[in-house]
């Protein structure tokens, strides 16, 4: 069976922690990650008998911002309800969530499909719920296994966004998540850098076969990996004449594989019913006060208009709020040079070093200085990249960073005119007769080898275009 006969259908349930200062139903601080277990707790988020939830209005406001930004329909009323199930991390044995009357319905997210064409992915609904605590499994075979429970996370507000099963590939799923993350970041309601701030459940099926749910994937990369693994697993199973079991699977982040969650499949009945301790929320009354900032798509279009940069640059630069802000800081040097140096060079260098953009934001002035040197041809592009690398390495060190100017001076990288290198060019031409012969025989690119040798010998201080011209002149062309 040919591969294209397998049509992949993917739907996502994305849970993001809303970046409020306190928890969803009590006053405990939500900023718990640096603190000892069970220090951010009170009777309410511990679910002690008699404690009652009080809604954190900020969480609803944040969620409504998201709903508006994602073009959702806002109902008159939303209602919290209880989802009942037993688990040691769930203090009340029910999660306060939303059922039949969520905060928002419908909506959509625009992404690019795998061919680069615009694609609209529809949303089913958005609702708000509380995060349970966290289990930490300890011990080993020798000492015995045991589990610790940390309720610091209990009651952190979550927003759950459910897409229609309209995604066709793991890459599309990844792009959707990137777009979602960017949108939430622009709205200032979500901090993607906090550990575990996003968790995804993915439904995936091969058309005509049963659907599998992969639970609790906790990274963007993980979603792509889990889906890719699952497609291969399902296709192989079908090829061998097997059938796909409708089941829940867990993603093993380390191995990049999924494993069946339960051997004996028992359907949980969550016994949803309205939460009697919280009044209905008159959502429509809130909407007048929900004001949106500029969102990624609007910013992308503005960058193209205002700075005259290409769509791929604009898309990359606006795909992350801090990157977009960084670009606007640097753009005065020259919108094109800033766009290509940030989008094409800087991002790659940061990724290579696993260095966050935040590390260089406070040194934006020095990055600007570097681009000025390049723009004004005081150093060549090649030297510029070398300087950038040395500069980034010095930023990740402990001492005070070396400025681009200092680096250029120390390494003697100031661009010199071609004439000063005539001797070197002539020497290299003499030493490489074969390359000249190839060039004369019409072999394209043969001269690039010579230019490269000159660049190496001059430590990047020479301009390749100038060298090219000099070679042509020496060869009498």
């Amino acid at each position: 069976m040919a591969d294209e006969e397998y049509i992949v259908v993917i739907g996502l349930e994305v849970h993001c922690q809303l970046d409020t200062s306190s928890k969803l139903f009590c006053g405990c601080s939500a900023d718990f990650r640096a603190d000892a277990p069970n220090t951010h707790v009170c009777p309410v988020c511990l679910g002690l008998p008699g404690a009652l939830p009080v809604l954190n209005k900020k969480a609803i406001e944040y969620a409504l911002k998201v709903a508006k930004a994602l073009n959702c329909k806002i109902p008159q009323e939303a209602e919290f309800c209880r989802k009942n199930y037993f688990y040691p991390d769930l203090v009340k044995a029910y999660q306060i969530t939303m059922g039949d009357n969520p905060l928002a319905l419908g909506g959509y997210i625009e992404i690019e499909d795998d061919a680069g064409n615009p694609k609209v992915v529809n949303l089913t609904r958005i609702h708000v719920e509380e995060d349970p605590g966290r289990l930490i499994h300890m011990g080993n075979k020798e000492r015995g296994h045991y589990t610790l429970v940390d309720y610091n996370r209990s009651g952190i507000p979550l927003i759950e966004m459910v897409t229609e099963p309209e995604l066709c590939s793991p890459k599309e799923a990844r792009r959707l998540l990137n777009k979602l993350r960017a949108t939430l970041e622009y709205l200032d309601v979500f901090d993607p850098d906090k550990e575990g701030s996003i968790r995804v459940d993915a439904n995936i099926s091969i058309k005509g076969h049963e659907r599998v749910e992969i639970k609790n994937i906790s990274s963007y990369k993980g979603v792509e990996k889990a889906l890719t693994f699952e497609i291969t697993r399902q296709k192989n199973l079908i090829r061998r004449g097997g059938s796909i079991a409708r089941e829940t699977r867990h993603f093993q982040e380390g191995k990049g594989t999924t494993t069946s969650a339960r051997s004996k499949e028992t359907a949980t009945d969550y016994r949803y019913f309205p939460e009697p301790d919280l009044p209905v929320i008159r959502v429509s009354d809130w909407m007048d006060n929900i004001v949106l900032p500029e969102l990624p798509d609007a910013r992308r279009d503005r960058f193209m208009n205002q700075y005259g940069i290409a769509v791929n640059h604009a898309r990359t630069l606006t795909g992350d709020l801090h990157l977009a802000e960084f670009y606007e800081l640097i753009a005065p040097v020259g919108s094109q040079i800033a766009a290509s140096w940030i989008a094409d060079i800087l991002i790659g260098e940061l990724n290579y070093r696993d260095m966050p953009l935040s590390k260089i934001i406070s040194h934006a002035g020095q990055f600007k200085d570097l681009l000025v040197l390049v723009r004004d041809q005081q150093i060549t592009d090649k030297a510029g990249i070398d300087v950038l690398r040395v500069w980034l390495d010095s930023l990740s060190g402990t001492g005070s960073p070396e400025t681009p100017g200092q680096i250029v001076a120390r390494l003697g990288l100031t661009r010199e005119s071609g004439e000063s290198f005539r001797g070197i060019v002539e020497k290299i031409l003499t030493n490489n007769p074969q390359a000249i012969a190839d060039h004369k025989a019409g072999k394209k690119g043969a001269l690039n080898f010579i230019v490269g040798q000159v660049m190496k010998e001059t430590k990047g201080k020479s301009d390749p275009r100038e060298i090219h011209a000099m070679i042509s002149e020496i060869l009498g062309e």
Binding site: P43, L46, G47, L48, P49, G50, A51, L52, P53, V54, L55, R82, N84, F86, P88, V91, K92, A93, Y94, Y146, V149, D269, R271, Y272, F273, P276, D277, L278, P279
Partner: protein, 424 residues
């Protein structure tokens, strides 16, 4: 303190902190109301050893008003029962006849007051749990309007019905205690800003009192009915006008109540799993087996019955048939009461259809026990306030007159009750 009525699960003498209107007064507190540093069990083995780290809002208010806490009172386990026989720690005994029950579920609070151990007590009323023992023990008990008293710290049985309320030997003390606990609390999202100033004056003249036909129907003891009719005649003598009214949807009250309260209870009680408090689970078992063992040993029979009923009624395929239908019935009942209370200032009838039964008389048949709530439950469904005042005896035991008022109309309800109390 000589607790000959088994009214207490735990006696204490925690002095009050304020110098308010309850200074020097000892108040007992039902054991489903959280008290900081004092064991709070809801009369259940599953909460044995649980010491709350916080006070219920009502308890804070009591302390601030100067009251001292004289102990935690016996009750039906988690409030589930009408006789206080469902306590894991033995039944409370009726001070008028210790072979009889106190009524429930706030039976310990009522016995403590009726037996003269304290002058005031807090109870809670989900389907009659303050009014029933008040009537059967011959004291006064008020179920406030839903939302008038904070539920923060009240260990939930059926959240959408219940209120903390006062029990005392007379209307003035009930009004005094109510004035301390009424008012808004931001920790309870269902609480409203309706404080009560405590200024109670006898006043019934010119009021219209509706007598619902259904409150004197089948199942109501003839002697009890006669006593309450006498009381209504007394109200007329005091200048009130009695008119007959009908609440046709009252026939749905018991099923609507028992479906809803068991649904809510099944969810509320799921947290008692032995992980954070209560009896320690067996650590070598898989967690779900450990939970099962803790719950099996920790809950009494009636609690298990209600958890099972509620779990069933909420489960897939039955939710629409039971829970949703019950909510529909609830609206009808509330509407009936609202329309009767448009023309009438109060409704009046017996609090309980009988006098306090002998210990053991009702426990064999849960349906018989549920039917005892028929005259109190509608009030919780409608959310309105109601008070039970003693109006004499039948079969040698106290009978309670129940007065039901308009939503947040406790002021005039207490005034009417005082007028009656002073006249008899």
């Amino acid at each position: 303190m000589n607790d000959k009525y088994n009214a207490y699960l735990n006696t204490t003498e925690i002095p009050g902190t304020g110098s308010g209107i309850l200074a020097g007064i000892r108040v007992s507190i039902k054991d489903n109301i959280s008290t900081k540093d004092i064991e709070t069990t809801c009369a259940s083995k599953i909460l044995k050893g649980y010491i709350p780290p916080y006070d219920a809002h009502a308890v804070t208010l009591l302390k601030n008003a100067g009251a001292s806490i004289a102990g935690k009172t016996n009750m039906d386990e988690f409030g589930m029962g009408s006789t206080t026989e469902n306590s894991a720690f033995g039944p409370a005994l009726n001070p008028h006849d210790t072979t009889r029950v106190t009524g429930g579920s706030s039976g310990g609070s009522a016995a403590a007051v009726a037996g003269g151990l304290v002058s005031m007590a807090l109870g809670s009323d989900t389907g009659g749990s303050i009014r029933c023992p008040a009537a059967w023990c011959g004291i006064v008990g008020l179920k406030p309007s839903y939302g008038r008293v904070s539920r923060f710290g009240l260990i939930a049985y059926a959240n959408s019905f219940e209120q903390i309320g006062p029990l005392a030997a007379n209307v003035r003390d009930v009004a005094k205690l109510f004035s301390v606990i009424a008012g808004h609390d931001k920790k309870d999202s269902t609480s409203v800003s309706k404080p009560y100033d405590g200024k109670v004056i006898p006043d019934i003249r010119g009021k219209t009192i509706g007598i619902p036909r259904e409150y004197f129907g089948e199942g109501v003891d003839r002697d009890v009915a006669a006593k309450v009719r006498e009381a209504i005649t007394k109200l007329e003598e005091l200048g009130a006008a009695a008119v007959e009214v009908s609440l046709p949807s009252m026939k749905y009250a018991l099923p609507a109540y028992y479906v809803t309260c068991t649904c809510e209870a099944s969810s509320n009680l799921d947290r008692f799993d032995g992980v954070r408090y209560g009896p320690e689970p067996e650590m070598n078992l898989p967690w779900h087996d450990a939970y099962t063992k803790v719950r099996e040993a920790g809950f009494g029979q009636e609690v298990k019955r209600r958890i099972l009923l509620g779990t069933f009624a909420l489960s897939a395929g039955y939710y629409g048939k039971y829970y949703v239908k019950a909510q529909h019935a609830r609206q009808l009942i509330a509407k009936d009461f609202a329309s009767a209370l448009k023309t009438c200032d109060f409704l009046a009838g017996p609090t309980m259809p009988n006098v306090a039964p002998k210990i053991g008389e009702l426990t064999s048949d849960p349906l018989l026990m549920y039917q005892a709530d028929i005259l109190t439950v509608p009030v919780n469904i409608a959310g309105i306030p109601a008070i039970s005042v003693p109006c004499g005896t039948a079969h040698g035991m106290p009978v309670g007159l129940q007065l039901m008022g308009r939503m947040f109309g406790e002021e005039s309800l207490l005034n009417a009750a005082l007028a009656f109390e002073e006249a008899v």
